[in-house]
Amino acid sequence: MHDTVVAPGGGDLSVDVRNLTRVEGEGSLHLRVRDGAVESAHLEIFEAPRYFERLVVGRSMDEVIDIVARICGICPVAYQMTAVHAAEAAFGVEVHPATVALRRLLYCGEWIESHALHIYLLHLPDLLGYPSAIDLAQHARDTVEGGLRLKRAGNSIVARIGGRAIHPVSVRVGGFSRVIRRGEIESLRTDLIEAQQLADATIDLVASLQPPAFRRDARLVALRAADGYPMNHGRIVSNDGLDIDAAAWETMFDERHVPWSNALQALGRDGRPYLLGPSSRVTLDADRLHPRAAAALARLGVADRIAHEPNWSIAARAVELVHAVAEAADIVDAYEPPPSGAVEWAPRSGVASWATEAPRGLLFQRFGLDADGRVLDARIVPPTSQNQAAIEADLALYAPTILGRPHAEVTQLLEQLIRSYDPCISCATHFLDLQVEETS
């Protein structure tokens, strides 16, 4: 199954890395090189199509919240948050401030869980030369256990607010399915105090790493909000001057269907790839970081490498871990429950569109709604499908610099580079709706 083929002799070379490991979902890399130059780099996604944009048609937005979570088991909160905010914007629902805070706390939980998972179970074994965290644990059990405890702190937040760590159940249009009691939230404090220490230790760990060198300039895109580090809302900005309303995503970006992949790839309407995720956010929103996270970033002193070296994304994730833990602790301290779980609301026709920052980057959703608030058509653009073209572009740049090395090493380095983007392939596979097809 793990099949790497390097063509013998000549200048023509074809590298296949089948069934990428330690990424969520199923993908493979196909690279064609001619005379030392990369002719094509295709990140193939063969996750079976699941047609989500079709499955939500005819559903109420509360049902959509439950359904879109199932696009990704790693970041269900991101899908729920984007859908619920889109719905509330479309229906003109003003939620209680405590609901706003709880949703941000829920999102922090998912970031903590997802980043701890990626750093400790997926990325760190790469950088330290182990096939898995389980093998790493044979030599550095404390480190892995610490990472698992950090992950558990994130899971506890999601489970406390949403009932369970994966596919939580309480997010509803207008708020939550019931009042989340103060006692339930307070009990998170102990976990978060430990998580604070573990997140700081993660910064120290990252400071000791030597990721493989690979530098390039990339177009970085993220949300940016006036009131804090981007999570639940913001405008779309880039390091080359873009600044648009999130609902206007489709005016600047579009998706295309490439023959080697079941996922749609997004590009700028100018045809340029762009990169989302922790590195983009830390670069574009450094001034919005929690003071603790800003201090951690300063201590690491790698802001420039985060912007230019994909293998340093682990540092961006570590900084965001510190941020999410610190912000979560602040929300827990200040939490006062709202008078009711959700506010009253009524559906109306219109377009619900929104973007939030999933752990892996900007997630855009748009739903056309009828007068009963039922979905007429939908578009869901996950971060990994937006990153795919940027990853391929980086691979095409990186491959020539390592091609002289032994085959196994080439494979390993390419896999590592792909993993450094934390691609979530099951999210990337989705179903394109009719409207989009006409424009593409």
């Binding site: 490991t21 330690r22 559903r59 049902e63 179970l121 949403g162 369970r164 994966i166 509803r172 079941n262």
Partner: protein, 282 residues
């Protein structure tokens, strides 16, 4: 097919464990990593030989226990599950996709070819079967863990029971039993909510009622699930389409839920093909 009460073979040497996935969201296999406290202790006692999400080491078998996530949605998957079955002693399906088809099985009601060519710019790039179906429609299944996603507690119990050589405690009773033990006030009786608890298998800890909403059936039908009985009651003050809608989620394709959906006009959504492709028991 064997149920949760089926004893598993006691394996004396370190069992070889695999985790594979088909069409799914990865949430069920992530639950294995979510066993945080027990993950390393379990890893000390078994050889995890295939788990693409967690390790670069790969294996195509043999497996003493193979956890299978996801439904069969492409021709390759239909072939692969047969090969995996042949290499596996105890095949365990995890989650609603693998045990019932998952949310993507809702497309089984639609005409797949029409949908595919209608909506994909290049349908020829996309290979998928007309239906998304549970693993047990393709090969024999030895045990199943229900849920969307599976419960970490049930997964822990299952693995512990296998390692300890005892019967896993995975009841096939209704969610109501857990709900009542937990002392949750019934949302159906008090608030008149639609709650699938009486026809849904327990294992979640009566999660949704405890969070103030009706059960949405993500653990699939319990034994003797009386979907028609619940539907009849619900239809006193709901339209048939609202009854179908409630059953048309992650376990829609399980026969007891499917019968209710079919009897109430099919799942929500546009009619872009035959309302259903097979009879209620197909």
């Amino acid at each position: 097919m064997l149920t949760a009460s089926t004893p598993l073979q006691i394996t004396r040497r370190r069992p070889r464990i695999g985790v594979v996935k088909f069409a799914s969201c990865d949430g069920c296999q992530l639950t294995l990593l979510d066993l945080e406290d027990d993950l390393l202790a379990i890893a000390d006692r078994v050889d995890i030989v295939e788990f693409a999400e967690a390790t670069s080491k790969r294996s195509s078998g043999p497996f003493d226990i193979l956890f299978v996530e996801g439904s069969i949605s492409t021709p390759e998957q239909a072939d692969e599950i047969v090969h995996l079955r042949a290499a596996t002693t105890t095949l365990v399906t995890i989650g609603a996709c693998a045990t019932a088809g998952g949310i993507q099985a809702l497309r089984n009601w639609a005409d797949h070819d029409a949908v595919r060519s209608l909506v994909y710019p290049h349908p020829e790039y996309v290979e998928s079967l007309a239906t998304a179906t549970p693993i047990a429609d393709h090969v024999a299944v030895d045990a199943e863990l229900r849920g969307c996603p599976i419960s970490p507690d049930q997964l822990r119990e299952f693995v512990t029971a296998v390692l300890a050589g005892r019967r896993a405690n995975l009841p096939d009773e209704a969610v109501c039993a857990e709900c009542k033990r937990r002392g949750v006030v019934c949302v159906a009786v008090v608030d008149g909510m639609t709650c699938l608890g009486p026809v849904t298998r327990s294992g979640c800890g009566a999660l949704c009622p405890a969070y103030g909403r009706g059960c949405y059936g993500c653990f699939g039908p319990r034994e003797a699930a009386n979907g028609a009985g619940l539907a009849t009651w619900l239809e006193r003050d709901r339209s048939p389409s609202d009854v179908a809608r409630a059953f048309a989620l992650f376990d829609a394709w399980s026969p007891p839920f499917r019968r209710v959906i079919d009897a109430n006009g099919g799942p929500p959504g546009p009619i872009d093909g035959p309302a259903r492709r097979e009879g209620p028991d197909a």
